[in-house]
Amino acid sequence: MSETSAIVAETAARIFEDLADPQTVNQAKDESWQAPLWSSLEESGLTLAWVPDTLGGAGASLSDGFEVVKVAGRFAATVPLAETLLAGWLLSEAGLSSPTGAMTVAPSRWSDELKIDAAGVLTGKARNVPFGKSAEHIAVLADGPSGPVVALVKLSDVRPSDGHNLAGDSSVEIAFDKIKAVAHAAAPAGLDRQRFMLLGATVRANQMAGALETVLAITTRYAGERVAFEKTISKFQAVQHNLARLAGETAAAVAAAGSAADTFANGILDDRFFLEAAGAKVRVSEAATEGASIGHQVHGAIGFTKEHILHRFTLRLWSWRDDFGNESDWAVRLGRMIAAKGADELWPLVASR
């Protein structure tokens, strides 16, 4: 991690610690904690980290942004920080300015069909749009008459459905019924659905890696505190082995997600990025499945309660597996790419990273 990335990550962590401590948030009666958190993130430029200053953003590096995303995952805070970063990046790529306030993005599903005409009128449906209820704008990558187009839409112009993910965060369906975009521009060459999904997958993978780090940390701590059969449960070999496996899954997630982020941040966008990003989403999602269940197993009944913070992480880990391509989906795509290249190309590709 570069020095600036470390500073940015520290800034983000401090804001979350102060305003979105998982324990405090978990006990909150309402969502009034979200507004001060969001304004603090916005004031420090983190929400538009990936937008150059000429387009209204903070102009931070791609690596800095990924660090922010990972920290956000560590706190499992329910604000659309990752989505706003992603939306800002998408708009900037097409040369569009970013508005202030929270944003989200579409598509987050491969099956979404989104079209835009030459006048900037959108049709189609986006499913499982994260924070589609609470954000103010949505950045959409749609199929235009002559290639992919980036469009900015005011969410008050559409009527999002009700809906939420396992963790209760809004995750909605948005029907674009001839909706006029606030702004739109052609996506630059190379920025198509696949590249956008790969970046979305990389962002989610990094949030998930952060969430797994916290699951490992709180589970390890709990095992050292909880006494059963007259000793802390951390002294039981069966528990130690579960935690070692959780550490292994967390390690895999951290390594894969970090590697994909590093690849994108270095401007590598060919098959190597495909391997990295698709590979990360597959492996991190597998780690989420394994890791979350170990976290719950070690915590026992208390971890299964609303009152405990564990669910803030595990429910999101499970949900995030499905955003920007789930592990089965990416595995099929990756497998097809490898098969088409042939056996002799497999190792050279793996070794190129």
Binding site: F75, L216, A244, A247, A251, A256, A278, W347, R353
Partner: protein
Amino acid sequence: MTAAIQFDQLRLPPECEKLRDEVRAFIAEETEGGSIKPTGATGGDSFSREFSRKVGAKGWLGMTWPKKYGGHERTFLERYVVTEELRVANAPTRLHFVADRQSGPILLKYAPEHIKMKVLPAICRGECCFAIGMSEPNSGSDLFAARTKATKTDGGWLINGTKIWTSNAHQADYMIGLFRTSAPTKENRRHGLTQFLVDMKTKGITCNPVYQITGHHDFNEVVFEDAFVPDDHVLGEIDGAWKQATSELAYERSGPERFLETYYVLEELVRVLGPDPDVRGAEGLGRLVAQLHTLRRMSVSVAGMLHAGKEPVLEAAIVKDVGTIWEQRLPHRARELAAFSEPEATNQIPFDKKLAYATTIAPKLTIQGGTTEVLRGIIARGLGLR
């Protein structure tokens, strides 16, 4: 909430990629010449004096050691590239692998100068095979239960007892053995063991073959009957072996050989599935490749952290735990994924052959060099649980 697990994003530097090209050219030549057999499975487990000598002549043994001992003063990252390329090619590295990876570094650290001058250059030439004398009939993972005795005598030590599961012993030039020189103390049950360099030609050493489930002879029972080892062959502190040889473990645990041992099955699976697999085959393959890529990134990252002078003990143990389980499961996953392949497929025969071999060697992968159970104990310690 601090992150306990760290993986620096290291990419291998340009000199490594240049070296990789050289290694691949060498592999292509050797495949052409017949010393590497791409259709066979047992290659990586084969012992070839000729091949090891060629690897030595290339300057790829003792790569990181000082030049005065025949080494090449190159980086651990360069060694990493040579190791992974030879492993993936399933090249016959058995003769030199242990010597190069772990015995040489122990000698470098603990052997007297004249021994280093004699043995290390031979390892670098690819002429010297090492065995590791640790396990005994009643001492496996519990190393400190070792009972084979070294008794002080005039000018040296007399060894008596039995080592077992000793790979290579029947063709090794030397063994680095762990022998009991004193009884353990009440305070420290690890006290009393000493490391020795043993010339396998010494009178009083007998190797009896122990055949493995693969049908191959790799294991041995090594019996010591008053075998004499001179004083200058003691490696490190007498009675204090437990303090030694822990620092190198991170290298041993995190290398590419900890997840690539059955790689040839994956490559062959790609051939069996063909260029346009069905969804089931594609998903299975994609998952395996994602897992392999992740493991390699973890392993390269640990190599980079070691290279940078850090001590990623926890991360290295994790690489071996996750990596060996992966390479152990690989043949079984490949079998499932190939279940509906055309029996007439042109490469079905090499696939079946490689799969059969990988399936039979798979059980050892999570046992050798520290069992899964021991590793998880180490990881638990790294997490602060014990």
